[in-house]
């Protein structure tokens, strides 16, 4: 039952007010999350008022151009913040608890890497060269779950099998592994604590095409086998379709569309999402490519109306004057555009 519902509708958190009920299928519910940075030229609104929710075992792809706030959003969810934070507010419900209210220490112990883990960009190059790979993969268990080293290594062995790394690699060093194997080891490190959510930030951007395809095969396997949800952050739209059940399109620090993958890749609603999709070169189809003229606005003092308005071919008066609100589509899609407003 749940699965049928899950593929037909996206959970747009029908009750936007009040806290979500405990027993529901909602894993993550982000509400009005803001992350602004202090810079020498003013306040930079990297993530501005982003709300979305996801169900258990789903995977959401967050796509958008560089500088649109994808990685900042992931860091805001995991509370991995740099020093120059100006504003950090909103609500992040994980399993029904607002983790934003937790103290930093509590968050580190009980949330980060136990419930939510992350594979960051080019993480495979961040493996410690003087420690065995197995030790590094087992480390989160020793730190967070207070396991003995022996138990932790046994669990690491198990996870290595799931991600497709030969078990004897536990005793090797990072430089003895190829790029693809190192990336799998990093993935194992993210999965070792059995988190409910793994955030993948450009997990394959430094890898070869064949290796990339192999890693995505492994990710699909993991998704089918384990109780885990994925947030996949990428600028590579073609690749994002390899894992996504739902797609979030971000533009200039804001979420502009959140829809099912069938809508997002075939008939996106927001003009920006449309432009983005039609600019993706395809191998098999011979389509006319389009591009979006202009460039994204500065996130310091962004336009007061719709942030995409200046580049949009379908803008009208209202777009420049007031920021658009979200409209809910027939399958629960959310789109931040006046064109779709029902009045």
């Amino acid at each position: 039952m749940n699965q049928i519902r899950a593929t037909d509708q996206i959970n747009t958190s029908s009750s936007r007010q009040g806290s979500p009920d405990q027993g529901s299928d909602t894993l993550l519910d982000v509400r009005n999350l803001c992350l602004h940075f202090r810079t020498s030229r003013g306040v930079l609104q990297a993530v501005d008022d982003v709300s979305f929710s996801m169900q258990r075992r789903r995977s959401i792809a967050i796509i958008g151009e560089s500088g649109c706030g994808k990685t900042s959003l992931a860091r805001a969810i995991l509370r991995l913040l740099p020093r120059n934070v100006h504003t950090y507010k909103g609500e992040v419900y994980l399993d029904g608890t607002d983790v934003m209210t937790l103290s930093d220490e509590w968050f580190r112990q009980k949330v980060r890497w136990t419930k939510v883990s992350m594979v960051s960009q080019a993480a495979m190059n961040a493996l410690n060269p003087v420690l065995k790979v197995g030790t590094q993969v087992a480390e989160p268990l020793i730190v967070h779950e207070r396991m003995t080293k022996r138990d932790a290594l046994a669990r690491a062995r198990e996870v290595f099998r799931i991600v497709g790394v030969p078990e004897d690699f536990l005793h090797r060093y990072a430089f003895e592994l190829s790029g693809g194997m190192r990336q799998r080891a990093i993935l194992a490190m993210a999965l070792v604590t059995n988190p409910a959510l793994v955030i993948l930030d450009e997990p394959t951007s430094a890898l070869d095409m064949l290796t990339q395809a192999n890693i995505f095969n492994a990710l699909k396997d993991i998704k089918n086998q384990l109780e885990v949800g994925f947030i996949l952050i990428t600028h590579d739209i073609s690749t994002s379709s390899d894992l996504a059940d739902e797609v979030i399109v971000m533009y200039a620090g804001q979420l502009v569309e959140h829809s099912l993958s069938t809508t997002a890749y075939r008939a996106p609603l927001h003009p920006y999402a449309r432009g983005l999709m039609s600019s993706v070169p395809t191998l098999r189809e011979d389509k006319k490519l389009e591009f979006i003229p202009g460039q994204p606005p500065s996130l310091i003092n962004p336009p007061s109306g719709c942030r995409f308005a200046v580049r949009c071919s379908r803008r009208f008066e209202r777009c420049d004057q007031e920021p658009p609100t979200f409209t809910v589509g027939e399958h629960g899609e959310l789109v931040k555009c006046w064109l779709h407003a029902k009045e």
């Binding site: 995977s59 151009e65 560089s66 190829s178 790029g179 693809g180 070869d208 095409m209 064949l210 290796t211 990339q212 395809a213 192999n214 995505f216 095969n217 699909k220 600028h235 590579d236 739209i237 073609s238 690749t239 994002s240 379709s241 390899d242 894992l243 996504a244 059940d245 099912l260 993958s261 069938t262 997002a264 890749y265 075939r266 432009g275 983005l276 999709m277 600019s279 993706v280 070169p281 395809t282 191998l283 098999r284 189809e285 011979d286 490519l289 389009e290 591009f291 979006i292 460039q295």
Partner: protein, 326 residues
Amino acid sequence: MANDVLLSVKDLHTWYELKKWGFLHAGYVRAVDGVSFSLHRGEALTIVGESGSGKTTLLKTILGLAPKTKGEIVFAGQKLDGKRGGVEQLRSQVGFVQQDPYGALPPFMTVRKILEEPMLINKFGTGAEREQRIREVMEEVRLLPVNDFLAKYPHMLSGGQQQRLVIARAMILRPSLIVADEPVSMLDASVRVEILELMRRIQTAHNLGVIYITHDLSTVRYFSERVFIMYAAKVVEQAGVDEIVHNSLHPYTKALLTAIPDPDPDNAHRYRDVPSGEPPSLVNPPSGCRFHPRCPVKIEGQCEVEVPPPFEPMKGHLVECWLYKA
């Protein structure tokens, strides 16, 4: 039409020597191992390969940035013997478009200076002529309005504009050949197409020879007709772009095509049937065909023993694979 050939490369090898303790010989990295092709004036050629396949080294060897070990490069009827004299003359006739535009542009120079520099070095015209040429090129790559851009520094430009500037710089001496090393891979999807179209337009307008290097097969059809597929320092297949996409022959090319997704929501429910493993080491490449350890259709007793020569099962479609032995 022998003089129509702009660049011809014959049996080119580029091996980097590995040293032990800084002076003892410890083998070679065979980055380019026997590549031959010729490029006509006004022709665009794409070389597709994964990282480490030797595509960038091939390009660097042609540019004279890496010393060749063996083979012959003839540019515009003139043989390049690898000594500096020949290369310098060549450089004014070859434009280079780098992968990372920000890294390729000096941060302390303005747009005007960046574009003037190659002309100063090559003693091109008077001050007024140079200014004229700068404006001409900037209009061509659509860095408009020109006056707004002349005094800007690279960090003030967006990624797409930086790449236009790199293209302008490559064009400024009116070269007859442009080599572009992954010119769009660092750019966002929405500007990629714009840059590819720009390069295509310049190529046809000036009848330029272009060598475009990429790892992304899906951008190829928007740019060139002829495609080379490189694997482990060798060109394993060459054909027209439609032929490669719809009628590929080499098992590696087939795997590569399977690995490349098109944006399709059904992908999430499909596994990709690609061979596992990684490209081989170029220090000790596998014997015989270099793809044989990963190949799903390898012929036992032949592929791991003999190096396949190029076969031509169809006119203009060459493949180095024993499956297509005549």
